[in-house]
Each structure stands twice: as C-alpha cells, then as structure tokens.
Amino acid sequence: MDPVRHDEFDSQACGSIAPKVKACPRPKPGEAAGGCSFDGAQITLLPIMDAAHLVHGPVACAGNSWESRGTLSSGPSLSQYGFATDLTDSDIIFGGEKKLKDSIDYIAGRFAPPAIFVYSTCVTALTGEDLDSVCKEAAERLGLPVIPVNSPGFVGSKNLGNRLAGEALLQYVIGTGEPEPETVMGVNLIGEYNIAGEMWDIERLMGSAGIAVTSRITGDARYKEITWAHRAKVNMVVCSRALLGLAREMEGRYGIPFFEGSFYGAKETTYSLRQMAYLMNDREMERRVDRLTEREESRLSQELRPYRKLLKGKRAVLYTGGVKSWSVISALKELGVQVVGVGTNKSTQDDVRRIADRVGDDTEYIPEGGASRIIKTVRERKADIMIAGGRNMYVAMKEQIPFIDINQERHKAYAGYEGLLRLAKELAYSLGNPIWKLAASPAPWDKEAPPYDR
C-alpha cells in the first residue's frame, strides 16, 4: 500500500484545532448518552501515570469517575488516586480558590509528583473561578508544573474534552523539557491510552523493527517524556480524531510530520509500521519493517486459520461511538466478519467516509445512540454479535445477544497482530458459548407437553 500523506485529510473534524467548519452536534435532552468534556479530558490525561490529577469541584465529578478506565500502568500509580477539592456549600458561596491552593500544596508536599493537573468542572467554571492564575501562582511558588485543564463538562462532548486536554499539553507541557543526549528519538504515539495494555503490544512490535517510542501521549506515560515530545521525528495519531489538532500544531511548530493510523487488524498494523519507517526516512528501517511485518503476518494467518473458519460469514453490529469505528471494521473484515451495522454517533464526516470505504453498500449506519436503536439494527440485520462499549453490554445480555466490549473499560487488548488473534478467539468464544442455547430453552415444566394420563 502506498503511504498516504497527511495533507490528504481535510480539517473538518470536530477534533481539529483549526477554526471549526462543522460544530460538534448538540446533545439531545432526553436522549443524550455519553460522557462530558471533563470526562474526555481525563481520558486523555489520566494515563500520565506519575502525575497527580486534581478535580476542582463538588465531589461527584471525581467521586463517580475515578478508577473507571482500563488504562494500565507499568509502574507508578499516582494517577489512580482520586483527588478532589470536594467543595461544600460554603466553598461555593465564598469561593473555592483558597481550598484549591491548599489542595495543590498538600498534594505537592505529600506525594511529590512531577506535575499536577487541575481540572475545572461545571460548578467552578460557572462561578468563574480563576483556575489559571491559581495554578500559575502555585507552579511558581512550588517550582512544579501545575497545569490547568479548562474542560468543564457542560462545554460539550467527550471528544471536545480530549481536544481541550491536547491543547493543555501543547500549551503547558510539550516543549518544556529535553531528553538525555543519548536517547534515540523516534515516534510519538498520540491518542493511544494503553487500554488493557494494548500499547505494550505495539511497543514490542515497534521495538522489533528498531523504531523507538519517544513519547506516549498518553498511554502509560511519564510526565517527563511528554515534555520532550517536540523532539520526536514522527507523530502517529492512533485513531483518535480529537487529537489530530495536537499533531497538526506540532507539525507547524516543530516540523514533525504526522500520519493517522490504527493498530486494529493486521493490515492497518502493517500500514502503520511502514508509515513510521517511511516518514522517518530510513531505508534500513523500512527493510526491517518489511521483514517483520511479513513474518508476523504469515505467522498470524497460520494461527488464525481455525478461527477464520468459525467466523466466516458471521454478521456483526459495531457501535463504538465513532472514533474507532473504521479501524475496527478492518480488523473484523480480516477475520471474515461482516459488519452489517455501524454507529456513526460521534463520527465526523471524515470518519464516515472511511467507514464507507470499508463496508459494503448494505451496511446500516446508526447515527444516534439509544440502546433500542442498536438492538433494532441487530434484529433487523440478523446480526450474530454486537460489538460496543461497556454501557451497552448488559443491554445485549438482556436480549441474549453475544457481545464484545470494545471500549475503555475492557480487559482484553486487541491491538497489533497478537491483538487480532485475541479478538478472533474472543469472537469465537462468545459466539460458541453454551449459554445462548441454555438461556433460550425453557424450564421442563414450561415446555408444552401432553398431560399425563391418570
């Protein structure tokens, strides 16, 4: 496959930093689903594992959300702590800035993190607290980066929150540090959050091809490595439209070329690795990547053979809330699974175009969520399995539809060649489980039977 230059993509996405052409749609009262911008900002930044993440607001924003993501750490775990200023009535009346300042001091003193991220929430945004100046003052006083993240929930969707977090990184983090002189520079992985350890699989692959990871933005990241992200040679945006703006801006500021790619499916994985080597402008590396991908692909197709047999012709409805849709479709296609319905809920026009490139004409697009709508599609299109986020898992169970969790809360890694094999196994296991037959058969006394002769 020919490498694709990034300038072939337009900037109409919700995720672009450039002036928006098309605004993100307004959520519909009474029918809205999905998280808020604050949630989105956390998704992006919580994987910076050694930093402290302080939520400024009443307790629920933090209390209801901490420890809810499947992002894994290979070491430090401070980001798994739930920090909240836990505002009370009187804090709201008299202002919470003093409490915020004290909280920052306390965290700095007790946990000595390399940085503190401070999130505004709806209430503190509404009362007009000056997060930026409290953070700035604290940073100077403590000699520690204290980064305001202005992404209160009510400004918009999760996607917007991802983007605002990306902007915070650009403004306060990237470019503020330098790597050790002997560090080999390579690729920044942008928008890969190490769900269920997926990034480790990717890193291993890159390692075998001799491609170094410069900064992980932000799966299993350390604060420091993001400060020198501007020294990377290539940016890869890992199927996350929301952070495209970050990559664009880094190209403008630091001249780092970027591409969009994915690691779902062997084809996409191979393409992404090739693209890295190509943009690094390293012949030797390209040859290594070719050898590696050939080897991996042929091994994979060996191992996939029994599963392909089982999965061939199976029909799936995919509902991931947008960003991952097109990349997961490729993976499923390689396994012989036909996607008969796909969610385009949060997809941009660009995403939709890519989805269209990858599915057949008779695939149904599911524009707005609502579990009933998804189920209807499953029924009408006679799908065998539903692939969606955890929120819809038990909906599927209620309807006795085999299900695979594809979103942040899951425990299985599906990226890379290994991941595709895992996905195949998971699909086969899910479809073949005896429970579907058992659950569909009534109790013996409920079966219609002729009454006993007495």
Binding site: G63, I92, T127, K398
Partner: protein
C-alpha cells in the same frame, strides 16, 4: 460518641458518592420509571456507568443535557424538551427530576417549572416529582432517602386524602435503606410476609436489579414496585424503615396519614435480627417460622466455629453511614477489634454511635486502619487494603471486583452467617498466604 475529621484540604480517594446517584438508584426500584437528571451530560453518564458496573444490569436514566449557554440562559427549556421526548417516546409511569449542583448554583427553578408543565398538559395518572440534590451535601444515602421522601410526598398529594382513608392492617410498607442489596430487600420482604403480612417495598430493587434475565431490554426500568402498588401503600397499617436515613420518609407517611412506623437502625447480626423477628411476632401474634429458628441456631453455631479465626483480629470499615452502623453492630457480636470506622458524611445515627467514627475518605482509612487485618469497603478500597496489607472484603457501593455482589445477603440470620463466613475465610486465606511466605526455602 464523637465524629472526627482529619485535617486535610483535599479529598484523596473519595468515599463519598454524589447524591444524585442515590436518587437514580431509588428510582430503579420503581416499575416503568425514568430518572431524569437536570444537569450537564456527565452528571448522568458517570452514575449510569457506575451503577451498570455494580449491578451488571442496564440502568434507566436520562439527562436534560445542559450545555454552558443553556445554564446561563434557560436551563428549563432543555428540561422541557427532555420531558416531551421521554413522555412521548417511552411513556413512563414515574418520572423523577433530579436537580444537580449545576442547577442549584445557577438557581434554576425546576420545581415550579414541573408544576406548570403538569398543569398545562393536564398530566394525570403518572407520578412526576422533583428532588433537589446538589453534590456538595450528603452522599448516596441522603440522595436515596430524599428521593423516596419526595416520591411519597407526591403520592400523598396525588391521592389527596388526609386522615380519612381505609387502613389495611395486614399490609406493611417497607422502606429499605440504600445500603441494602436486592437480595437483602428480598430477604426482608420474605421475613415480613412469613408472618402473614402483605409487604410493599418502596422502592423495590429486589425485583429490578436482582439479575432476572430473559425479559428483553427496555429504556425504562424493568421490575420494581409498580405505581398502583405504590399508591396502595398509602393504605398500609404500618411502616417499617430499615436504616436510620429512612426515618424521614417514614415520618412523612406518619404526619400526613397517621401511619405508625418502626425504624430498625441496624439490620445485621443476631441482635438486629432478633429484634425484627420479635417485633413481627408481637404485632402479628404469629409464631416465628421454624426456618428462622433453625437459621438462628445455624448462625450461633457458625459464630462459635469462627470465633477462633476472629480472636485478636482487628477490622476497618469505610461505608455509608447507615451501612457502617449496621456492620459495626455485627462486628460487635464477632468480638473483633474495630480499629477504625469511617463514613462519607455525618448523620445523627453515626453521631450517636458509641464508637468513634471518622468522616473522611479512603486515604484516611489507610492512615487510621494501619495494622488492621480486615478491610471492609467498596471496590475503591482494594489498593489501600493492599498497601496496609489487610484482607479485603468488598461491600457497599460500588463493587465491581466480584461477581454477584449485588446478590449477597447481609440481613437476617442468613446474612450474618454469610458475612461471618466470608470474613473468616478471607482472614484464613491471608494467614495461609503469610505462613507460606515465611517458609524458608533452601
């Protein structure tokens, strides 16, 4: 005795859970209900995800999806839109509009909005009510009980009869506290009805969140107490409230209708169960069913068996106020040391406890509970328990680290036995683990 707080500006690893989540939970126990959170999107997405994770069931919930400009200009326009949509699309029997900190700080008057909405559309038959639940007060428990109270209020208003009503003395209204699992509510219903009473639980999560399958999906709640039973409960001869937080809704029924009530503050352990069964025996004149006599023996015997395990052991518990009170009563009977008791906010019940109680977070639990052998809290406590190397027993909300947690029983003799065995087993396993690691390999 006293309620203490550790001095610390920031909450680290919060134990507190937003009040609105308690409201959503209460409404799950009503049939064909739709909780509607009046706030921004995240305020419904987080509770929905969390409740789904705990109960492993779909959760009925909607939001008015406020955005910045809506809050500033006209938040109630969103609410109206949401109401229109929910009413026309799903036709719920019950709608609970839950105000958030956002509507509170912005000073949105949605109570009056609902009133005029109902008037204009001549809404009858269903039950629609509002409840004000900003998150900077209380916790899950207070949100739950306030919602039940508002619900009862609305029922009384709608029924319109004050004083004059026909009373069914064989019918009891059960007000189960927020800390009770679906299996607990089931057990309580069974216990009360075994004395010949009809029981109406308000709300009744035992028939909605207990994991019954094969009913298909609905955007509204499935199972739970239906509206006509709810209204019928106004005829009950008695209210039984379980958990101190449920006293207020019980009092509401008493003040408006004169229904006498009895509050059982503790619900766990031998004494608490004795008290409940004895009370039921006295008011019904029926003998205590044989199976409970058996269970009592079984419990005592298992406590005898287990007391060797618990000798010299110390326990830390971090739970919502009513739950903490209950669990502490059971720990008392086990004879273990209660190293630290923590709760999310202060209530009269915990303030009146004979033991020292701390209002704080799970980080305080780590500090106060250093050296404890057993740690009892929601699943957020796993990491802390590991750090102080205590055995971990998941309880309260949310629990995602175990299957079937929502079906575990804590009330009645059976519940006390189950918990004693669970706790004892955990301590045994921990000991076995440490013994193994102390063996020297050569």
């Amino acid at each position: 005795m006293t309620v203490n707080r550790r001095k610390k500006p920031v909450s680290v690893n919060p134990l507190k859970i937003g009040q609105s989540l308690g409201a959503v939970l209460a409404l799950q126990g009503c049939y064909r209900a739709m909780p509607l959170i009046h706030g921004a999107q995240g305020c419904s997405a987080f509770p929905k995800a969390l409740l789904t994770r705990h109960f492993r069931e779909p959760i009925a919930l909607q939001t008015s999806a406020l955005q910045e400009m809506d809050v500033i200009f006209d938040a109630n326009r969103n609410l109206e839109e949401a109401l229109n949509l929910v009413l026309s699309k799903h036709r719920p029997d019950i709608i609970g509009i839950i105000g958030t900190e956002l509507t509170d700080v912005a000073g949105v008057d949605y109570q009056n909005m609902l009133k005029s909405y109902k008037r204009e559309r001549n809404m009858r038959g269903g039950l629609a009510f509002t409840v004000v639940l900003p998150d900077f007060r209380g916790s899950l428990e207070s949100g739950f009980s306030a919602t039940v109270e508002s619900m009862i209020d609305e029922m009384i208003q709608q029924a319109g009869h004050r004083g004059a009503r026909s009373v069914n003395s064989r019918q009891i209204t059960l007000l189960p506290g927020s800390f009770l699992t679906p299996a607990d509510v089931m057990e309580l219903k069974e216990m009360i009805s075994s004395f010949g009473f009809e029981v109406i639980a308000l709300p009744d999560i035992s028939t909605s969140l207990s994991g019954h399958l094969l009913t298909g999906f609905s955007p509204l709640t499935r199972g739970g107490v239906p509206l006509d039973s709810m209204l019928q409960s106004l005829q009950s001869g008695l209210t039984i409230a379980v958990g101190g937080s449920m006293e207020r809704p019980a009092r509401r029924l008493h003040n408006a209708l004169g229904t006498p009530y009895k509050v059982f503050e503790g619900a766990m352990g031998l004494k608490a169960t004795d008290e409940l069964l004895h009370f039921l025996h006295q008011i019904s004149g029926e003998p205590v069913p044989l199976r409970y006599c058996w269970q009592r023996e079984n419990l005592l015997d298992s406590m005898l068996d287990a007391h060797f395990q618990f000798a010299g052991m110390s326990v830390l518990a971090a739970l919502e106020p009513d739950h903490l009170y209950s669990v502490s009563g059971w720990l008392e009977e086990l004879g273990v040391e209660q190293k630290a008791l923590l709760t999310s906010f202060e209530t009269p019940l915990v303030a009146g406890m004979e033991r020292e109680v701390w209002v704080g977070d799970l980080d305080d639990a780590e500090v106060l509970g250093k050296g404890a052998d057993l740690w009892i809290s929601n699943s957020h406590g796993i990491a802390g328990a590991k750090r102080v190397s205590a055995a971990f027993l998941a309880a309260g909300f949310p629990v995602w680290s175990e299957l079937g947690a929502y079906m575990s029983v804590s009330v009645g003799y059976r519940g006390a036995m189950e918990w004693s065995n669970r706790a004892g087993n955990l301590i045994m396993q921990r000991e076995a683990g440490s013994r193994e690691s102390s063996v020297r390999h050569r």
